[in-house]
C-alpha cells in the first residue's frame, strides 16, 4: 500500500469497539474474484491484540451497506459534520466491459483490467473507516469483518449521504450564504479544489491510457519484426535478420518500461489523486449537509418570529434544537476539515515520494539494460 493510512491517522491506530479491536495496517483487500455476474472481494483483517485473523468474501453491496450503516446512528451529535471516507464507485457489470465503460463508471480505478487498483482503493476505504475516531467505534464493523455471510442486500436504507437528486432547491441551498467566515472560505476553496483535482485525475487517466497504448504498439512492432525473420541463406539477409531480432529485443525493453511507468502512474500517483479527489467530494457533501442545517435553522428562526404566541414556545424549542444540532455539526466539521487538510498534504507527500522513487528506479533499470545492449551492439558492429 503506497499510502499508509495508519501513518496518517495518528489519532486512532487501533480502535477499541467493546472488545473488538482491529489492527488497521492488517486490513487488506487482496483480490477480486469474478463469480457469476458479480465481483467478490477477499477481505482480511487481524484482531488486536489477539492476532486472530479473519477472511471474508464481500461484494460491493456489502460495502455499500457498511457505508450506509455508518451514516445511520442518531445518537451521535454532529454526525453530519463528519467527512466520510469515500467509497469508490460501484463496479459495472463486467460482461460487456470495455475500457471506456469502466473509466466512465469508475474513473481512474477503471484503468486496471485486473482490478488491482480498485482493490487498493477499497482497502484504503476500510482502513480509513476503522481508524476514524468516531466511525471506528461503530458495531457494524464487527459483523462486516467477521461474519461469513455478507450483510449487504438489506434494502437500501437511505442514509444521509444520499443526495441523488439535485433538485433546484438543493442547488440554491448549496449556494446559501454562510454565517461563518471559516466555512465561507472553506466552501469556496473546496469547490475549486474539487474541480481541479477531478480535472487533474482525468488528465492522468489520459496519460496512463496512452502509455498503455504505446506498450501495446511496441508489442506489435516486436511481433512483426519476429514474423519477418525466416531461414536465410545468404549472408546479407542473415545479417538483416539478426538486426531485426535485435531490434525486437530492444522494443520489448521499451514496452516493459512503459508498462512499468504506466503502472506506477496508476497505482501510486493515480490512487493518491483519486483518493484526494473523492475525499474532497465527500467534504463537499458534508458542507452541504451543514448548509442545509443552516437553512433549516434560519427557517426555524423566522418561523419563531412569525409565530403566534400560542405556538411560540414550541417554535422556540424547535429552533433551539436545530441551533444546538447546527453547532455540533459545525464543531465536528471544523475538526474534520482541519484533519482533512492535514491528511491531504500527507497523502500527497507519501504518494508523490513513493511514485517518484518508483519511477526513478524504473528509469535506472531501463537505462542500465539499454546501456548493456548498446555496448553489445557496438561490439557486434566492430567485429563485423
Amino acid at each position: 500500500m503506497v499510502v499508509s493510512v495508519s501513518e496518517m491517522m495518528d489519532d486512532a491506530p487501533e480502535v477499541s469497539v467493546s472488545g473488538f479491536n482491529l489492527s488497521v495496517s492488517s486490513i487488506k483487500v487482496t483480490e477480486a474474484i469474478k463469480k457469476e455476474n458479480s465481483l467478490v472481494f477477499v477481505v482480511g483483517a487481524q484482531e488486536f491484540p489477539s492476532k486472530k485473523q479473519h477472511f471474508v468474501d464481500r461484494k460491493f453491496e456489502d460495502f455499500e451497506w457498511l457505508q450506509q450503516c455508518l451514516l445511520m446512528p442518531d445518537g451521535i451529535p454532529g454526525l453530519q459534520g463528519i467527512i466520510f471516507p469515500p467509497l469508490p464507485a460501484k463496479p459495472c457489470a463486467f460482461q460487456s466491459n470495455t475500457q471506456e465503460k469502466m473509466i466512465k463508471q469508475l474513473g481512474l480505478l477503471g484503468l486496471d483490467d485486473d482490478w488491482k487498483t480498485y482493490c487498493m482503493a477499497l482497502e484504503m476505504y476500510l482502513q480509513l473507516v476503522v481508524s476514524h475516531t468516531t466511525l471506528g467505534k461503530n458495531q457494524v464493523l464487527r459483523s462486516f469483518f467477521t461474519q461469513t455471510q455478507g450483510p449487504g442486500g438489506q434494502a437500501g436504507r437511505k442514509g444521509i449521504l444520499n443526495r441523488l437528486s439535485q433538485a433546484l432547491e438543493e442547488i440554491k441551498k448549496e449556494n446559501h450564504q454562510d454565517v461563518d467566515e471559516f466555512f465561507r472560505n472553506e466552501r469556496a476553496s473546496n469547490s475549486s479544489l474539487v474541480r481541479l483535482t477531478k480535472a487533474t485525475t482525468e488528465r492522468l487517466i489520459a496519460v496512463v491510457r496512452t502509455q498503455q497504448n504505446i506498450a501495446l504498439a511496441c508489442g506489435h512492432f516486436s511481433t512483426t519484426l519476429h514474423l519477418g525473420v525466416g531461414p536465410d541463406e545468404d549472408p546479407a539477409a542473415k545479417t538483416f535478420s539478426k538486426l531485426s531480432l535485435k531490434l525486437s529485443e530492444i522494443i520489448i525493453i521499451v514496452k516493459k518500461n512503459f508498462e512499468c511507468v504506466a503502472e506506477n502512474n496508476l497505482n501510486i500517483l493515480g490512487l493518491g489523486l483519486d483518493l484526494v479527489s473523492r475525499y474532497e467530494e465527500s467534504e463537499k457533501e458534508m458542507l452541504f449537509r451543514r448548509t442545509c442545517k443552516l437553512v433549516e435553522l434560519e427557517q426555524n428562526s423566522k418561523n419563531l418570529e412569525k409565530a403566534k404566541p400560542a405556538k411560540k414556545a414550541n417554535m422556540e424549542e424547535i429552533k433551539k434544537a436545530s441551533e444546538k444540532e447546527f453547532r455540533h455539526i459545525s464543531d465536528i466539521a471544523r475538526l474534520e476539515i482541519q484533519k482533512l487538510h492535514r491528511v491531504r498534504v500527507e497523502v500527497f507527500q507519501q504518494c508523490l515520494t513513493s511514485w517518484c522513487e518508483k519511477q526513478l528506479h524504473a528509469a535506472r533499470e531501463t537505462s542500465s539494460i539499454l546501456s548493456q545492449h548498446l555496448r553489445a551492439f557496438k561490439q557486434l558492429d566492430s567485429t563485423e
Partner: protein, 572 residues
Amino acid sequence: MATSSERSPPPFPESEDQEPDPDPADGDSDEGEDIFTGNSKPAEIKAERHQPPVDVTAKLQRDIPSSDPLGDLDGSGANKKPARDGRQADLFTEPRSDIFSEEAAARPARPGPASGSNANSSSKSNGIHSDEEQDIFAEATVELSLDSPHSERKETPKPVTSTESSVAVQPSAPKTALKTMAELEEEESEDKFELNISITNPEKVGDGMNAYMAYQVSTQTSLPMFRSKSFTVKRRFSDFLGLYEKLSEKHAQNGYIVPPPPEKSILGMTKVKVGKEDPSSAEFVERRRAALERYLQRVVAHPSLLQDPDVREFLERDELPRAVNTQALSGAGFLKMINRATDAVSKMTIKMNESDIWFEEKLQEVESEDQQLRKLHGVVESLVNHRKDLSINTAVFAKSVAMLGSSEDNTALSRALSQLAEVEDRMEQLHQEQASSDFFVFAELLADYIRLLGGVRGCFDQRMKTWQRWQDAQVTLQKKRENEARLLWANKPDKLQQAKEEIAEWENKVTQYEADFERISTTVRKEVLRFEKEKARDFKNQIMKYLESLLHSQQQLIKYWEAFLPEAKAIA
C-alpha cells in the same frame, strides 16, 4: 554503397571518347576543368574488379594513359572481353557527333552544356563501372528504347586494359562511403575521399500558389572532380525530381538501381504555399528536407551514379534549368510506373527460361520483403502517433497540476506540485523528441526502403526486357534465314544479297543482345548484393542511433526524477 561496386580500371586510350572537354556539366564551361583533373583522381569509390563486392580495396580505377588526353573518363568499365575491342574502334570513331546530336536532341532543357556534358558524362562515369562492359555511353543514350546505333554504342566496352594497377589513391575505408550515407556531417576522417552532403535552410520563395521551397544543398568534398572543396547551391524539389528522371533514363536500363526521390505531396505543399504557419507544415518541410538529404546521399554513394555529370551539375551549378515533365514522379505516379513494370515483368517471367535460379529467388525475396517493410511501416507509424498523443496528454496534465499547485494553501505542497508540473512539462518535451526519433529513425527509413525496393524490381524488369529483346532478335534472325533460303530456292540473286546483309546484321544483333543480357544480369546481381549490404548497414546504423536516443531519454528522466524527489519528500 560504393563499396560494392566493381569498378575496373578505366580502359585505355583507344577506348573511347575521351572527350577532352572539361565537364561542362558544371555549368561553367569556362571553368575549364582540367582534363586531367577529372581523371587523375577517381572518385574514391573503390572498385573491385569483378568480385562480388565484399571487400573494397581501394583500387583506383583510373589509369590515365598518358597518351590519352581524355584520360579519365572512360573508364567505362573494364571491358574484359576482347571481342569487344574490335567493335570499339568503330564505335569510338562514330559516336562523337552522334552523341552530341543525340544529346542535343534529347536534352532540350540543357542546351548549353548539352553537347559537352553528354560526352563527358559518358566518359566520366565510366571509371567506376563494373568490369562488365558496363558502358558509359549508356548515359549518352537518351532514349529508352534501344535501337541499334545506341545499343551499339552502349556496347562499347571500353577495353579494359585491365590494369588493375590501381593507382590506389586512397584507401577510403568502405565504411566511409557507407557512413556518408548514414551520417550527416559526422565524419571528419582523415580519409581524403570524402563527400558530405547536407541540405539545410528551407526557404519559401515567392507567394501564393506559385511559391516553392528552396533548399540549400551544401557539399563538402575532397574529390578532385569537383571544382572546389565546399560549395552550396539552391535547389527546389522539382530539381531533385528532374535529377532522378535523368539518372533513371540513363542508368536504369542497364540494371542499375537508381534511388527514387521522395514523393510529391500536393496537400503538404499547398499548406506551405498558402503560408500556413503551423506545426504540421513545419513538420512537412522538415520531413521533406531530411528525405531529400537522404536521397542525395544515396545517389552519391552509388559509385556509378556519382560519376554522372548530371549529379555533379546538380551539386555544383548555380542555376539549373527548370525541370519540366516531372509529373510522372509524384508518389502515385511513381508507384504506377513501378507497378506497370512489375506487371510486365510478371508476364514475362512465365516465359523466360531462367537459367539462373538466383534471379528468380531474389525476386521472390524482394516481393516478400516489400510486404514485410510495409507492415513494419504501419506498425511504426502507429507507435509514432501514440507517442505524439502522449506528449500532448502529458502537457495537458502538467497544466492541471500547475493549477492545482497554485490553489493549494500549504506552501510546501504547493511548491512540490509546481515542481511536478515542470517535470511533466520536460517529459512532454522528451516524449516529443522520442516520437520524432521513432519517426525519422524508423518510419522514414522503412518508407525509403519500400521505395528503393521498387527500384530493385525495376532493374529486374530491365533485365527481362533485355532478355526479351534478345529472344526477339533470335526470332527475327531465324526469319531472315528462312527468307534467304526461300530466295535461294526461288533463285533471285538480286534480293539475295540484301538478305545476306540482313542476316549478317541480325547475327550481330543477336550476339550483341546476348551480351547485353549477360551484362545486365551481372550488373543486376551486383546491384542487388550491394543494395542488401547497404540495407543491412543502414539498418544497423539506425538501430544504433535509436538505442542511443532511448538511452538518452532514460538518462534525462533519471535527472528529472532525482531533482524532484527531494521536493516530494519536503512536503510537510
